[in-house]
């Protein structure tokens, strides 16, 4: 996932500003940022096509009638009219190739079909649910990074006890299931202390518990890799040199070690995205928060295949975007990436 497009020998391009300036194509030299964007776009299209293809054939693999599979699986007792409608909508009586191409054609124009359980347009529904989940995930990621860097900082500066304590905290944090963490947080902070609402209602404080629940396991994982790399950097000669020049311990951390600490975590952004989205399924259900996760759970429970397909495609697209952003962040933090 961390493939970096190498620049041409004479492609002296740097800085993202060049991406907007279309350079004349000479001898097939394309500006690196433009090539980076093109590469990502092609990757995104390939991933979306592949996910759509996998699901298309999965529907046909379910034993029995594909029309029934779309309407909630075998034994869903879909009415004859509904089955006939789906058969017509998806062209299930056409040859497989025609069906497949028609499906891809609908995908290209952004038509994800109709959710049979909610009786609405899937793409519209996704757009409606997206902002809530994105907000939740972004806030959680920020909190997770703050927690991870905070414990890593404490572990490097605080001596052996701090290192041991933070290391065990990280392992426990990364092993905690979201559903249990949410339950315990609600029990302590809502039921016992009454500080925070147990459901994520429209009020701004409602988002605190979901965000903390999502952030802690991610922080555990980020903390583990961050600390490993931080300790390696702290043992490197440049750290000793900086200290010898009179850099203070916290100055060393801020100005020299922080970049090293952040890198492996940024390389894991695709993984962090997965954890956040999987967690969102659980957390949005527990805190009764509208969003993509809860929509997906509903769709899976009711076996609403058009909606499941829609969420899967949306999250695959989001994954590609997140990995690209992680790659950009890595370049911003690591000068070596830019020179390469």
């Amino acid at each position: 996932m961390t493939r970096t497009p190498s620049t041409e020998a004479d492609g002296a391009v740097d800085g993202p500003t060049e991406a907007t300036v279309p350079e004349p194509r000479r001898r097939g030299v394309v500006p690196a940022p433009l090539r980076w964007v093109t590469g990502r776009l092609v990757g995104a299209v390939v991933v979306l096509w592949a996910v759509a293809t996998l699901i298309f054939f999965a529907i046909r693999l379910v034993p029995g009638d594909p029309a029934e599979a779309i309407l909630g699986g075998p034994g869903s007792q879909a009415s004859a009219e509904a089955l006939a409608l789906v058969r017509e909508q998806y062209g299930l009586d056409d040859p497989l190739v025609v069906q497949y191409l028609a499906q891809l054609g609908r995908l290209v124009v952004g038509d994800l079909g109709t959710s049979y359980s909610l009786r609405t347009d899937v793409s519209g529904l996704l757009l409606e649910q997206l902002p809530g989940t994105v907000l939740l995930a972004v806030l959680s990621l920020v909190v997770a990074w703050a927690l991870a860097l905070g414990t890593a900082w404490w572990a490097t500066l605080g001596g052996r006890t701090a290192a041991a304590v933070s290391s065990s905290l990280e392992i426990v944090a990364s092993a905690v299931p979201h559903f249990w963490l949410a339950g315990v947080l609600v029990l302590v902070l809502s039921t016992q202390l009454g500080w925070l609402p147990p459901v994520s209602t429209g009020t701004p404080v409602g988002i605190v518990l979901p965000v903390v629940t999502l952030a802690i396991p991610v922080a555990g994982f980020l903390g583990q890799v961050t600390r490993d790399s931080l300790l390696d950097a702290a043992a490197a000669p440049f750290a000793l040199t900086a200290r010898a020049r009179g850099e203070s311990r916290s100055g060393l951390f801020r100005r020299h070690l922080l970049r090293h600490a952040a890198l492996p975590g940024l390389a894991l952004s695709g993984w962090a995205f997965g954890s956040l989205l999987s967690g969102a399924v659980v957390v949005e259900s527990i805190f009764a928060r509208p969003g993509l996760g809860r929509t997906l759970l509903q769709a899976v429970t009711l076996r609403d295949i058009p909606l499941v397909t829609g969420v899967a495609l949306a999250s695959a697209l989001a994954y590609v975007v997140v990995v690209a952003l992680g790659d950009l962040a890595e370049r911003a933090v690591d000068p070596r990436e830019r020179a390469a």
């Binding site: 996932m1 996910v51 999987s278 899976v300």
Partner: protein, 287 residues
């Protein structure tokens, strides 16, 4: 799963000393396995025996973890649920590693010739696509097609973990394949099948054992999450996630119903992680 991929590169100054947390983790995992194999030894009661008089007793001498709405002991149910939770996690890990090895070998063993390159490109693209549906997402999509249940949940979690293992196996196979040892075997006229079984697999699989230990914890967490969401083991069975889900209704009045089954998941997963990291550290000291 990428996290796991990063772990074997543990710093070399960590020596092969046995540390107290690792011993504790091994003891805990041993107890968990014992509870799975012979629950009667640790909790003689019947996990399904209803006793309405004892309903909602808080943790005490008779019931160390309290009782649920039907008066069934939570301790007994947690112990008897170990078998279900652990075997779902272990089977899922087994499915994940087996698929991972098949895909990884298919991608990595072909080498530089054309069929090998095509297989590598094909499998690698497939893995990239599967990585775009990370974590529970792939498992949920699988369950949308299979319907809920303990067996579908196991298969779904197994499928969801497979891409991570496949990527590691591929890189290991590629590494071993390029070694002088394999080159020598090829020069001596060994058949590809023999080279694969005698040389490549034994050397490529050592990290997989470590990763499977680390992955077991994750698989137990995911499997219990699916049960919690009502997509795994059905409610009457004592399974950790299902117990938690049942206790949710009473979480304000009977906290023990949700806290203890969850604690079992956390302790199992954390122990597997500690043990996996210990194994990884040992592994990194081998040449």
């Amino acid at each position: 799963m990428t996290v796991i991929a990063e772990l074997p590169r543990v710093r070399s100054r960590a020596r092969a000393r046995v540390r107290p947390p690792e011993v504790a983790a091994a003891i805990v995992l041993g107890a968990v396995v014992l509870a799975a194999v012979a629950p009667q030894l640790l909790a003689p009661g019947d996990p399904l025996a209803v006793s309405p008089v004892d309903a909602f007793s808080p943790p005490g001498l008779a019931h160390p973890f309290g009782t649920d709405e039907s008066g069934r002991g939570i301790w007994t149910r947690v112990v008897h649920g170990t078998g279900a939770s652990l075997s779902i996690g272990a089977m899922a890990t087994l499915i994940g590693t087996a698929l991972g090895v098949v895909l990884g070998v298919a991608a990595g063993f072909g080498g530089g010739r054309l069929p090998g390159r095509i297989a590598d490109a094909g499998v690698s693209r497939l893995l990239e696509v599967l990585f775009a549906l990370p974590g529970l997402l792939l498992a949920l999509v699988v369950i949308a097609f299979t319907g809920p249940g303990a067996v579908p949940a196991t298969i779904a979690v197994g499928l969801a973990t497979a891409p991570g293992y496949a990527r590691i196996v591929r890189s290991q196979v590629v590494r071993v394949r390029r070694s002088a040892m394999v080159e020598a075997a090829v020069v001596l006229g060994r058949r590809p099948g023999t080279v694969l079984l005698r040389h490549v697999l034994p050397n490529a699989l050592a990290p997989v054992v470590v990763l499977a230990t680390l992955g077991l914890g994750q698989a137990v967490v995911w499997a219990s999450s699916l049960s919690y969401l009502g997509l795994g083991a059905p409610p009457p069975a004592p399974e950790w996630g299902a117990m938690l889900s049942a206790g949710r209704t009473y979480s304000t009045t009977a906290w023990w119903m949700t806290v203890f089954p969850g604690l079992a998941v956390v302790v199992t997963a954390a122990s597997a992680t500690v043990l996996g990291r210990a194994l990884a550290r040992r592994g990194s000291e081998l040449p």
